[in-house]
């Protein structure tokens, strides 16, 4: 059966098992490999995408649930908040191996879209589902605060 998806603003089609996790459709069928497989059981956050603007673990969602919804992957981030986050990430050299960082960025962008002004506790609670084996957590936190500060002061992204 053909499933029509809206991914990063484009209409794409998937012809396969409707129970296929969205993650594999994104990576294997649509060729968008920025979203990573880390665990497959919603424990690591590496597979995080946005669906209708909110984070979703794509390893734990069937593609059959996606028609009519707007999916955004790391490749498709473009909002002012996303640009501020990406800029902060680069400036503070957040990534080490980089594997978890797509998911980290997706969660961070969603957090700042909802809570532009935030505390360390807000960051702890929102980012608790994104793990980093290289332990870049302090730089992730600093980058989120930096992006928040820049967005508040209206700095160009």
């Amino acid at each position: 059966m053909t499933i029509r998806l809206k991914v990063n603003g484009e209409t794409r089609e998937f012809n396969g098992d409707p129970d296929t996790p969205l993650l594999w459709v994104i990576r294997d069928d649509l060729g968008l490999t920025g979203t990573k497989y880390g665990c497959g059981i919603a424990q690591c956050g590496a597979c995080t995408v946005h669906v209708d603007g909110v984070p979703l673990r794509s390893c734990s969602s069937p593609v059959a649930a996606m028609p009519g919804r707007a999916i955004t992957t790391i490749e498709g981030l473009s909002s002012p908040v996303a640009k501020a986050v990406q800029k902060a990430w680069i400036e503070l050299d957040v990534a080490q191996c980089g594997y978890c960082q797509s998911g980290q960025i997706m969660s961070a962008v969603a957090l700042l879209e909802k809570k532009p002004k935030l505390s360390d506790r807000d960051i702890d609670l929102a980012m608790a589902g994104n793990i980093c084996r290289c332990a870049t957590y302090q730089r992730i936190r600093a980058a989120i605060h930096l992006a928040s500060k820049r967005l508040a002061s209206g700095d160009p992204p």
């Binding site: 996790p21 497959g40 059981i41 956050g45 995080t48 909110v54 734990s60 969603a110």
Partner: protein, 125 residues
């Protein structure tokens, strides 16, 4: 029992923190490929309904107390436990999860009988 992994909190509306909502991971139904359980309204019961650390007598009294049971009458409590599908999930959790003992229907019958016989609570337990 063990803590939820990843570490999550109920948040202001019992549905999670900003950017880490229950629905970030939990879908409208159990999803076998990841083993993540699901339901259309997956969420925590309100804080005032918590049972942990309470004695049996306290739990019994709070089930009857509208301040702790979502403002429900006993008839509404019966309807909730006997027919609510998220409550009912406990008996059909799927995957390798152990179901609650009995069935929701049996549980509803027990609650109905308890209500009919005066909804008494144990003393001092």
């Amino acid at each position: 029992m063990h803590p939820h992994s990843p570490l999550v909190v109920r948040g202001p509306d019992d549905r999670g923190a900003s950017a880490l909502r229950c629905t970030t991971c939990h879908g409208v139904a159990n999803f076998a490929p990841s083993g993540v359980p699901g339901h259309p309204v997956w969420h925590m019961a309100p804080r005032e309904m918590a049972w942990q650390g309470r004695a049996l007598a306290q739990i019994c009294e709070q089930i009857k107390d509208p301040r702790h049971n979502g403002g429900r009458t006993l008839a509404q409590i019966l309807e909730h436990v006997a027919h609510d599908s998220l409550v009912g999930w406990a008996w059909r959790p799927g995957g390798s999860r152990e179901p609650a003992p009995g069935t929701q229907e049996e549980f509803g019958a027990l609650i109905a009988a308890w209500i009919e016989s005066g909804a008494a609570c144990p003393v001092g337990h």
